[in-house]
Symmetry: C2
Subunit: 229 residues, 2 copies
Amino acid sequence: MYFQQKGKKLKEYISVLRQTALFAGMDDSEIEASAARLNMRAQTYERGETVCHSGQFIRAIGILAAGQLMIQKDDYWGNRSVVNRIGEGEVFGEAFAMQEDEPFIHDVIALEDSVVLSFRPEHLFAPDADKLTKRLVQNLLCSMAAKNRMLAQKIDIMAHRTTREKLTDYLSVQSRRAGSAHFSIPFDRQQLADYLGVDRSAMCTELGKMRDEGLLSFHKCVFDLYDIA
Amino acid sequence: MYFQQKGKKLKEYISVLRQTALFAGMDDSEIEASAARLNMRAQTYERGETVCHSGQFIRAIGILAAGQLMIQKDDYWGNRSVVNRIGEGEVFGEAFAMQEDEPFIHDVIALEDSVVLSFRPEHLFAPDADKLTKRLVQNLLCSMAAKNRMLAQKIDIMAHRTTREKLTDYLSVQSRRAGSAHFSIPFDRQQLADYLGVDRSAMCTELGKMRDEGLLSFHKCVFDLYDIA
DNA sequence: GCAAATCCGTTGTATTTCCAACAGAAAGGC
DNA sequence: GCCTTTCTGTTGGAAATACAACGGATTTGC
């Protein structure tokens, strides 16, 4: 069995899996048993490598065990749209793995050397499902609900018409999520512009104006929002 | 029990539920048993009434048994963003019902007199889950995956910079979904503009140009795309 | 350490969108 | 039937964005 061959490799990532939403509420031995049951495989990617690409038919759900991924899309003319950044422990591809005849519509790129664990969703629906599998399904449901909210949130941000509205909305959400007016974002300027769907230079100009107006300050990816009361 | 009181009412909608993704693969008696187990309730709304609104904490997953709903959001100045239209048999609110401390971020409005069935997700995770419940959970997973793909698709469309790109992308997707170059869309002009995140008048102008260029023709909500080979 | 590449902020111009207003067509209410 | 409301398409001016190009700062690769 593949899992037994790669058993040592998977074991290395149990400490990561322990903190993921998918394996929430499981101890190490339960995680190991789940991984075996799911016939989970590990695959490594070098920085810059494509994990999967637009048009591909995805059959497995991915969990990022190490590294960083970017979910994005380039059109024929090179215009890039950034959908999201995936950090360690996050799940990706599940919406398309669940429906095998729906092609993936984005590219997934490794921003750093990365390790992806993956399994086929059919193992979740085996007729002899035990308590562990039931837990996995419930966790996956919560995980998909969270991603659903994230996508809805992004739609809300992109629905704004002006660059400034998109920026203030995005930064407000990030600040709330961080629980502080001082926080860091996971994008550089070009990526942020591609995430918000605006021109980078115009966005830089708008950020500069907002800084001059005393709304915020920033250095690289670290931002501070100021309350204007 | 509420269900017994409203038993007759729920039974009226079994023919609708039979065709929903949530109850796929179940016969009428199984659907009835599931509805009882989920403690499902029916609620009616008049045309124009608010089903739920932004900021509210949702505790139940909704299924539209009759009528039409619009999921949208208005900002303080009345700018409207249309997220999606919900037709009979579709599920809504599940992403926020799964996480009770996350407030709903949209408004749900009844476009016609509507009937909404709802249940609390905790019934899906009861420890004494039977085969039917397992089926419901699996169906809900597929349903959420489909919604996930829909949201990702909408993000793709909104990521385009120009009105024309958004229109061609949206109409292409609708045409592919309908399996024909002749199809109808579920929005009037204002709703379509709010869905694409553009100005209505500019969108009308762009549609007119595209018609003059021979790319398409339309009458109300019915469109025909022409292959330019 | 140095060279190359990338990232960031700025500017000016061209393009596109937004906004307000209007008129005709269609739909709905009574 | 008629009146009212909504919907659609069009226009012109105001505003915002996209695009191209640049210099300086920072990072990366060797």
